[in-house]
Every structure is written in C-alpha cells, then in structure tokens.
Subunit: 185 residues, 2 copies
C-alpha cells in the first residue's frame, strides 16, 4: 500500500480536507497500546483555533483511549484504503492490533503520543479541547495542534459513508472563487 | 429550476444524506420574514432521536432567526443549484429576500414554521434540541422532526465545500455491505 510523503500544513486550513465530509481513521494510544477507528460523524467548528467536533461512541474501544489520553490523530484515507476502512470499522481494538491486521504503518506523533498512519493522505494531531458534551452525546471538541498533508495529489480521492454499507466516492472539482466575497472564502 | 417531488422519509435515516458531508441550505422564519443560508459545518450526532450538530456563525443574519424561532429546515441542494449555493452564501438576508433573488420556491413547514425549499432534493424540519454550546462555539444541536426526500434519483449529486471557493462534486457509489457486521450498518 502506498505511503504518502507528507509536509507540514497550516492547522487553520485543515477544513479544506475535513469540510467535504470524508470518512476518517482516528488513531489513538493509551497504556502502551495503539488503536484505530473509522469515523464519519465530524464537523469543522472553528478555523483558529482549529477546532473539530466529532462523535465517538462510548461503545468503541477507542472512546476510553481518547478520553483518558486526551489525544488522538485524525487521518484521511483515500479510496485505495476502502477495504481497510470497512475492516477497521468492523472489528474491535480490544481483540485486534489494527495496525498489524490491516498492514498500516504507525508514525510516531510529535505533538501527541498517538501515532499517525503513514498510508493516509493527511494526518491531524489533536488534543481534546472541550469534553462538556461527552457524557450526553459522546461528542468531543478537538483542537488540531499539528497537521501533515501529502504534497500530491492536490485533491485526494476520498470516500464518504452513506450508512447501510454504502460509500460515495469523491468526484470532480469545480471553482467558483470569483463569485465569492473575499471574507467568505 | 427543477422542483423535486418528495416523499415522507424516516427521520432516523437522514444520516444517509448528511453523513457524506454535502453543503446544505438552511431556511428559517422569524418575525414575518424568511431567509436562507449556506452551511458546510454540520455532523450527525445520533440516529434516534435524530440529532444533527452544526455551527451557524453569529455573524449570519440567520443566527438570530434560528436562535429566536428555535427552528429551521436543513435542505440538501444538488449540483444544479451550485450557483444559488454560492450566491446565497455571499449576500445577507438583512438586505435581500433570498427566495425571490435566487428564484427558489418556499414550501410551508408542517412541524416547524420555517419553509422548505422546493428545488432541493431533501428537506429536514428541525427544532433546536440543545443550545448549551451556542454561546461558546455558535454550535447548535438540532433534532430532525420531519423529513422529506425525493423519490428519484436514489443518490443525489451533491456539492461539498473545500474552502477557498472550491467544491468537490459527489462521484461514484460503492457498496461493501456484505463486509459489515449487521449492527454496524
């Protein structure tokens, strides 16, 4: 599987990759073990600071790892990883070493202890910024503190979950930049 | 512009259209006036009750209309409405009647007073379920209380905002249903 060569990327701009709504892989580390989960319920909340809101079900093994370590990495997989995306979402880190099972390469975190995934297009190291809605909705507000994005391709071919085992694959690109007010870009 | 013939749809399943991350048009009504805004910062939070989390900047005219009326409609536009999506996001409801300016047809709400948009593929009538993060993050938790979805096409061609005036257009569909555990679909 291809390993993406990534570069530093401004954390304030991670919305360019998250706002279109791709499925992401969330990696975590706690108590000497690493894990990965598949996540589709996330939204940009602010550019600066760079805040992401997401629901991580308390039924997931990752829930406690992220809640206790207060950290994780949001990785963006491309179409090539579609079977790993499904596989990771359909087994538990309690029973399986997912990096090994899905032949993914952990890359040591710099700002966080959680590892990134070398085979993903982008990796955003995050710390929990606000846990006030965790108990009620399993909702975490994360701050992206370090971002790395592949230099090419410019726009990744991402997969977007529809529920019911179906995915939409990202298609063509259009620009309407000239019709925007500068402050709305 | 095409008007979609919509049917009742189970509110617990609106994730099928929202989880892939499309740009949506949010319509509202307050004090005798209707308005529309373009929104890209939203996430599914729960299926039952059907909860959607979204950021609506307090700089938007819609912010006060939604906060005061405690209601809105999330409408899903397709590719055909791309120029209306951009236009609606680049003018203010304080100065413009957006239904008139963009030749969109308001459809009276049933569970809420806010109108739906006839030219959109799907319309989800929502009530504010939790406003506890509004002051800090402009973040609203909405409950979908009535959903209407076009009978065809089965999968709409949606647009997904990348920032910087660029959009990704939804592409092909794939199914991995047989690789899912039933409880994970």
């Amino acid at each position: 599987m291809r390993i993406f060569r990534k570069q530093a990327f401004p954390v304030d701009n991670v919305r360019r990759f998250l706002e279109p709504g791709p499925i992401v892989l969330v990696s975590s580390r706690w108590n000497g073990a690493s894990n990965i989960m598949t996540m589709g319920w996330h939204t940009v909340m602010e550019c600066s600071p760079s805040l992401i809101g997401c629901c991580i079900s308390s039924a997931n093994h990752s829930f406690d790892m992220i809640r206790r370590s207060k950290e994780c990495v949001i990785n963006i997989p491309t179409f090539e990883l579609r079977d790993a995306i499904v596989g990771i979402g359909n087994c538990s880190g309690q029973a399986v070493d997912k990096f090994r099972k899905f032949q993914l390469t952990p890359v040591a975190g710099v700002a966080v202890k959680a590892p990134s995934i070398a085979e993903c297009y982008a990796s955003f190291e995050c710390r929990i910024a606000d846990a006030s809605l965790v108990r009620k909705y399993d909702f975490f507000v994360l701050e992206v503190v370090r971002a790395r994005v592949a230099a090419s391709p410019k726009y990744p071919r991402t997969v977007h979950y529809r529920g019911d085992g179906r995915f939409m694959v990202s298609g063509s690109e259009i620009s309407r930049r000239r019709k925007f007010r500068p402050e709305n870009l």
